[in-house]
Amino acid sequence: MSIKIENLTHIYNPSSPFETTALDNISFEVTEGEFIGLIGHTGSGKSTLIQHLNGLLKPTKGKILINQVDITSKDVKLQDIRKNVGLVFQYPEHQLFEETVYKDIAFGPANLGLNEEEIKARVVEAMDLVRLPFQELRDRSPFELSGGQRRRVAIAGVLAMKPNILILDEPTAGLDPKGRDEILEQIKSLHQQVQNTVILVSHSMEDIAKLVDRIIVMHKGKVSLIGKPTQVFKEVEVLESIGLGIPQITYLMKMLKENNIKLREDILTIEEAKAEIINWIRGNKNA
């Protein structure tokens, strides 16, 4: 499913002393099956933006088209949109409420009106996706799990609805490095399997650099950069001026290049960099 945002503006508490323009005339498009990284400093409007994509927030101005359908128009049923657009909130573990892990994950699918069998199949599948052992945890209370496990339960609760567009708001905030990598890895592999459209919100360039097709950089309610990771990382000055910076490995490659060491520039991961540098050393020896 594709997403198109046209001149979207959102103002919180309009005409009061607490008025804040959280989104300021934003426009961009996401094509079907794309993996997008949405990045920006605290308060840049990321969470506000994604809440518009399934109709939780209404724009002050502008349009949101999901598969060419304007979801801000009155005849659109929001339930239908929410079926298609799955949103995992920041700190989603705070939304858990059921007595058992199974029931909590089943909440979304049950709201879709599926039958028992289908619901069970989906819970099993979703728990597997986030690497939670089904038999062991299905009857446990979500409140006696660890923070990381609770996060996974909450993510599974949205995955079980099988949304065509999956949006995750900082799914890895506050997790340990291993948990973080695992969750990102699972999101990526799910994306590769089913080719859904994914929007991943993050603070960390490191995290999203190697995962996404395109990066959208937000700053003070505006889109300041948009493009492939390698393109975006060329704008080091812009990124630094808004307090973001680029992955360390990209810095390294840039510095090597400035010292006249000819290496590929579009390198995003340590593994790639290693291969490239070793290659270069070998090449030098032979010459």
């Binding site: 399934n54 929410r82 949103l87 939304q95 858990l96 909440f107 709201n111």
Partner: protein, 265 residues
């Protein structure tokens, strides 16, 4: 949804009224409430209306914003109005089965509705112009003389501060959890009463859990900073009565005097 609740919200403008000592404002508000009960004619209401409008003007709070605060109460006001219309005996002008509309009822209903409106507008003026912290400071200070007879002034004030402080936080949290459940297909808006009550479970459970967690964390943080109740605590900001406070109280005294005069005239 929840954004419309403005009762108890602070609206900073830095006006003359905002700068007054909280104690002055609390006392004036009490006097005002008493004043409202002295009122017995629409002429007096005219005076009250002028006074309230004057205060709103001085406070620089938009009238529109004040009226928005009345919105959630319109049901109560309308019910009061209707009950009074039907429940007062007197000259009947219209009959609806066993119910009679009387002239006196109409008069009484309008009267009570106005009283409620003025009550809400006047008291919300207090909370709109006084930050929660200043307000509880004022209350604590006013209650202090009652300490010897066993009124825990400081504890009461602290409880109020905390409660007031967490109202917006809890509203925000409610909003967030509601959205998260709506994203999972929860429906809070349609269905019959039983279904609606059921649909609140996914909202209330996480809300209570987070409220308890917050309470726990707050208690811990206060202990960690050696909070031991009110004895020997000093304050960063001392409350002082100034010239403006005296003027305000004088104005209020005049207002009450006029109301009494109109009443016994």
């Amino acid at each position: 949804m929840l954004k419309d609740i403005t009762i108890g919200q602070f609206y900073p403008t830095g006006s003359f009224i905002h700068e007054l000592d909280p104690r002055t404002k609390i006392l004036i508000t009490f006097a005002y409430i008493v004043g409202l009960f002295i009122v017995s004619s629409f002429i007096s209401y005219g005076i009250v209306a002028l006074f309230v409008l004057g205060c709103i003007f001085v406070s620089k709070i938009p009238v529109k914003y004040m009226l928005k605060g009345l919105k959630p109460l319109r049901v109560i006001i309308i019910i009061t109005f209707i009950i009074n219309i039907f429940m007062t005996s007197g000259t009947i002008i219209y009959s609806l089965g066993p119910l009679n509309v009387t002239v006196e009822g109409l008069y009484q209903g309008t009267f009570m509705a106005f009283r409620l409106v003025f009550l809400v507008v006047g008291t919300s003026l207090l909370t709109l112009t006084t930050s929660p912290i200043a307000l509880t400071d004022g209350i604590e200070n006013l209650l202090n003389p009652l300490k010897p007879i066993g009124i825990p002034a400081h504890e009461l004030a602290m409880m109020m501060t905390i409660a007031l402080r967490f109202i917006p936080t809890l509203l925000e949290e409610t909003d967030k959890i509601m959205k998260a459940q709506m994203a999972r297909g929860a429906d809070f808006e349609s269905g019959n009463i039983i279904n609606r009550a059921k649909s609140l479970v996914p909202l209330l459970v996480p809300l209570f859990i987070s409220a308890f967690r917050r309470a726990d964390e707050l208690a811990m943080a206060m202990e960690a900073r050696c909070y031991r109740g009110g004895d020997n605590r000093t304050r960063m900001k001392q409350l002082v009565i100034q010239k403006n406070d005296i003027i305000s109280m004088a104005v209020m005294g005049m207002f009450i005097a006029i109301l009494i005069y109109v009443r016994i005239r």
